[in-house]
């Protein structure tokens, strides 16, 4: 048996929030460079130039890449041999978010009530926490600041099993065609296939954590990713949505078992500032 003081979680979440908001992950930055080489539309090239400059300015001046510092999504893989001592996990994560957003000039964008008051909570809490208990004595935390412009472009479909691969591709293409221009292309498209009504969207968000260009380990799904990417780019929306060859930097898909009667497909759109940062904590000897 090992333990972790909740303050260690607070400190790590704070660091990861700051890092994720000001440093674009290397694979996404590389994706923008490759897009620049591939893009032929002049509007598209100008947008990519802006974005590449933006990455540099944000990194050098420690400014957030995007003014929308998101709702803070936090994936936690908690080693089951570790006991959390002190505050609860949600309270610890929220305290880390609070310190980062208040202390490092990140925009606070969360309102307490979605429908009536819509009053800003003032510290970007609560975070959205996805917890998994896993084997071992290590805690892995990944922070994903997720802007709402791209969340608003995302969708879920409960397809029939008979619709198969073609149905999945058509739905992904349709989602991007409808709202992709609003979501700051070039996009990264996360696709979650299978599970249930609530599990497919979380799977789609998890897919966004995989590095760009890194294919699904299952060959069939790797092939599907390639097909979906080709179809999405054939829409011609381009960087900024002004027209061009690169609508998406990548399409990343994850799958899980589902029911005999179902084929849930969730499409979680992410923008050109697809941000995430991860870190690990080791449990201490009791």
């Amino acid at each position: 048996m090992r333990y972790l003081d909740s303050f260690e979680v607070v400190k790590l979440v704070e660091e990861l929030c700051i890092e994720a908001n000001i440093r674009l992950p290397e694979d996404v930055a590389d994706g923008l460079v490759k897009a620049k080489e591939h893009e032929q539309s002049l509007y598209g090239q100008a947008v990519l130039d802006d974005l590449l400059q933006n990455v540099e300015i944000a990194r050098k001046e420690k400014m957030p890449l995007c003014q929308d510092c998101g709702m803070t999504v936090v994936f936690v893989d908690w080693g089951q041999e570790v006991l959390l001592v002190g505050k609860s996990l949600q309270e610890s994560v929220d305290e880390g978010v609070r310190r980062a957003y208040l202390g490092s000039y990140l925009r606070r964008s969360v309102v307490s009530d979605p429908l009536y008051d819509r009053k800003n909570t003032g510290d970007n809490t609560p975070a959205v926490v996805h917890l998994r208990f896993v084997e071992g004595s290590e805690v892995k935390i990944t922070v994903v600041p997720k802007g709402m412009g791209s969340e608003n472009a995302s969708a879920l479909a409960m397809l029939s099993p008979g619709e198969g691969e073609e149905g999945v591709i058509d739905f992904v293409k349709d989602v991007v065609a409808r709202k992709g221009q609003n979501a700051c292309p070039p996009l990264v498209v996360g696709v979650g296939i299978g599970g249930n009504f609530e599990s497919a969207p979380i799977l789609a968000k998890r897919a966004l954590l995989r590095p760009i260009g890194c294919r699904n380990a299952d060959e069939r799904y790797a092939g599907l990713e390639e097909k979906m990417l080709r179809h999405v780019n054939e829409l011609g929306l381009g960087p900024g949505g002004y027209g061009g060859k690169v609508t998406a930097l990548d399409v990343l898909a994850e799958f899980m078992p589902t029911h005999i009667a179902g084929l849930p497909v969730a499409v979680n759109i992410s923008c050109n500032a697809t941000r995430h940062a991860g870190g690990r904590l080791k449990g201490r000897e009791l």
Binding site: D50, G240, G244
Partner: protein
Amino acid sequence: MKGRKVRTPLEEDIVKDLHVGERVLLSGVIYTARDAAHKRMAETLKRGENPPFDLRGQVIYYAGPAPAPPGVPIGSIGPTTSGRMDRYTPMLLEMGLKGMIGKGRRNPEVIAAIRANGAVYFGATGGAAALLAKRVKASRVIAYEDLGPEAIYELLVEDFPLLVVADSEGNDLYEIGPGQWSSSRGERIGEDR
């Protein structure tokens, strides 16, 4: 970036001469307003009261900045999705608003109102928020301070880099731009607007 230098407030003949696809470097005073500020302005106007600033000839930037660290005029400030403001836009255009800066598609009613009122809709690069902040020289909150990032800021901008995406003739770059790059012919793009 190169572009045509334009100053605010926008004059009618200049707006009429701006065409889809043209690059613009905008200088002068502009105002931020997004969801909550639009809602309040609309309520104010419906009560027959004056909006927080004279809309005539002005430009609204759909944006909510990140907080400014000490010594700089503003934090990162890129455009938010314009479509959410569509429900309020025709009314503001009728009151004399001449320009909007944002990202993403507008609905057909807004495109028609831009045409009918001789206005212009500019695109700023979504996601380039730190870059765009560098072109803001001064800022102050002029209304709705309680809304935090959603307050109305008066910004002084210099050579703010923009693209004309909907012009006073009713052209819409989001509609016509993807055409030549799309190989899925016959499919309607962005029909749900």
